[in-house]
Each structure stands twice: as C-alpha cells, then as structure tokens.
Symmetry: C2
Subunit: 219 residues, 2 copies
C-alpha cells in the first residue's frame, strides 16, 4: 500500500467493519469513554456493532494483543486504563525512537517513497496558510506515516504509529498555541531538508528537536 490515499476524505470508509469497530473501541478506551477496569461484555458489542460473537472475539483478541484490554480466562475483557504519566512516557519514547527512524528512512528511502514525501510536504506548505487544523493534522500524520514506512523496519513503524494513535486520542484536550501550524511546518521542513540533502544525522537531529518540542507543547 503506497499512495496518498490518506489525503482523501473517504479514506476511513475503505476499512472493514471489523477494523472500524476495533478502532472505535480503542478510541473509547483512550478518551476515557470506557473506564479502566470496566468489563466489556461480548454480547453488548455484538448489538452495538451488529455482528456475531465470532468477529467480536477476534476484535477483542487484537485489542488484548495491543494491550488496551486484558482478557481474563473465563471472566472476559477488562479495560486497561492509560494514565497521564503513560502519555508522558509515550511522548518520551517517541523522542528516543523517532530520530533513529528518520535516520534509517533517509538511508533507506526509495525513489517512489521520496516522491510521495516531497508531494506531501508541498501540500503541507500549501495548506498551512489555510489554518484548517483538522486537514493539517491529517496531512501531518500522512507525512510522518510515509517516514515511518520508509525506515523499512516493521517494528519501528508499528511502534511509532501506535504512539501517535495513543497521543492523538488520549491527548484530546490539549490547547494549541496560535502559531502551532507554522511552527510545526518549520520543524517538518527541517526534517524534509535532511531528506532532500540525504543527510541521516542531520535528519535525526531535526527529528529529535521536533519530537522534543511536541512533547513540550503538551505542557
């Protein structure tokens, strides 16, 4: 899967009902809609998402593998909560991993991937002026997703995608400063410049700065 589909508004619709339900539950957990320790009854999910227990149990298996719920034998699924400190920690883990991801990505990126990154960055430049926060967040996520993929390491990619997902939904009440979009654009420009110059160390440095500042903007 290598495309700019994430820019499309109907992108979400391409996901399977099962995947959508899984994401829905995950978001409910991260936003606190489902409380830590709360029991999730399979039958309730069957009714909520209009499916039988078989796919529901597969969803619960995946969520448990991801750590958002705990599956206790013969007793069912229980919500595993996420604390503010957990989110802090995850921001910090991103500052550790993301620079190395960018370094590898600059070393390993294909021509095709680079073209996508270039095109996405030009979209970012163009739309930053619009101050459409939602659209820009989507493009920013797309920009980083291309980099995560371009590092060509599945563990790194999965880890960073997961951290972003947690940060995105467990961090909803954050107040962005007025100059947020142009600031992030400049941080991303520094990263993209390193890709353009093919300088891995420079990219790691720029990534470190971006991740660290993102963590700080939360405060």
């Amino acid at each position: 899967m290598l495309s700019l589909d994430f820019l499309n508004n109907e992108y979400e619709d391409t996901k399977s009902p099962s995947k959508k339900a899984e994401e829905y539950i995950a978001i409910d957990i991260l936003t606190g809609n489902l409380r830590p320790g709360q029991r999730i009854v399979e039958q309730d999910l069957c009714e909520k998402f209009s499916m039988s227990r078989t796919p529901v149990r597969e969803i619960l298996s995946r969520l448990a593998a991801g750590g958002l719920i705990e599956l206790v034998p013969n007793r069912g699924a229980f919500v595993v909560g996420i604390t503010e400190r957990d989110v802090d920690d995850i921001f910090y883990m991103k500052t550790l991993l993301y620079p190395q991801c960018v370094k590898w990505a600059i070393e390993r990126i294909t021509e095709e991937e680079y073209s996508m990154l270039e095109e996405t960055f030009s979209f970012m430049e163009f739309y930053t002026a619009t101050e459409d926060m939602e659209k820009m967040q989507k493009i920013n996520r797309g920009f980083e997703a291309i980099i995560y993929n371009a590092c060509h390491n599945a563990e790194m990619e999965a880890a960073l995608l997961k951290y972003d997902f947690i940060i995105r939904y467990a961090n909803l009440d954050i107040k962005y400063p007025l100059n947020y979009l142009p600031t992030v654009l400049e941080e991303h420009r520094a990263i993209f410049d390193a890709f353009r110059a093919r300088k891995p160390e420079q990219g790691a440095e720029a990534a470190q700065i971006h991740a660290f500042r993102s963590m700080m903007r939360r405060k």
Copy 2:
C-alpha cells in the same frame, strides 16, 4: 502477577493451550520453519493443535496484531518474514529503549519488586558458576523481565519483551564466547548496583553498556 515462577521448570505448562499454540507458530516464523510469504491454512492449524477454527482464528488475529503474519481479507494468513537486518534493527532499538526503562524502573520500583530483583540477582550470581547455559538464560530473562515490569509503563514493557522474544528465536545460531556468562553477570551487576544505590542515571548508563555489548556479541 508478581512472583519468581519463571524459575520453575513447569512454568510453561501454566500457559493456556491457545497461548502455547500462538507461541509455537510465532517461533516457527522467527526460526524460519515457516517461510516468508507462505500461506497458513486455518484447517491445518486446527488439526495440528487439535482445536476448532474459532480459537485458531483468534490466534491468527493476535499474531497479525503483532505483525508476524498478515491477514488478507478472504485470502487468509501469510507469514511476514524477518530479515537479518530486522534483527540488527531490533537490537539497536533495544539500546535506545532499555536505558530509559532502567532509569524509570529505578525511580519507580516498589519494595516488593526490588526484593524480587535482589533475590533473582543472587540466583544469577550463584548459578553463573554452573555454566548451565539454558538455566542461566532463563534467569537472565527473568531478571530483565522484572526490570521491564518495574518501569511501570506497559508500552515499554511490551516493546522490550517483544524484542527479546524476536532476538531469542531469530538469533538461534549465535556462538557465545567462552566467558559469556560471567561477562553478562558483571554487566547485570552494574545495573543492579544502580538499583541498590537508587541512581537512575547510573542505571541508564549501565543498561546502555549492556544493550550495546549484547548487540555487538551478535557479530
């Protein structure tokens, strides 16, 4: 779950049949027994592990969530391979995360956890002389597992456990140097000393050294 059960030889038997089958398949993938791209047919697993398709599909859901297989809609499960470079990368990711894990663990460890770590370390000292590689590896894993848990961050713990699992099974043909066990003991001692002295930075430093040398020992 807070105990020294991992030292028990029958520890593996406490796992559910479903969990054992999942681990069995995961090991088959990491050791190369199942080849990258190879299709996994549900019915075959049903026969192999003597269970019906429902639990088999739950196992496949979990493995897919962990990235070891890919689930293609209507076409089934396909093995995702792991390359030598992937293993190199994962060693490197461990050098990034483990020092921070130790730092957090020293800051956050409970009295009970510390007692377990202390007891485990004394076992390590005692058994290193026996040159029983298998037993020592198990104790070493237990020592690190306690630290992973004591950092009190589920993402960090899950990440490091996963890396260790991959390293353990995708790295089977490694040749250990003669003084491997005493060398590792001393590296672990440096980490444990930092716990004893409650010095997070010193622990991070010792952890960094241990992770880096482990990576190098692979060469």
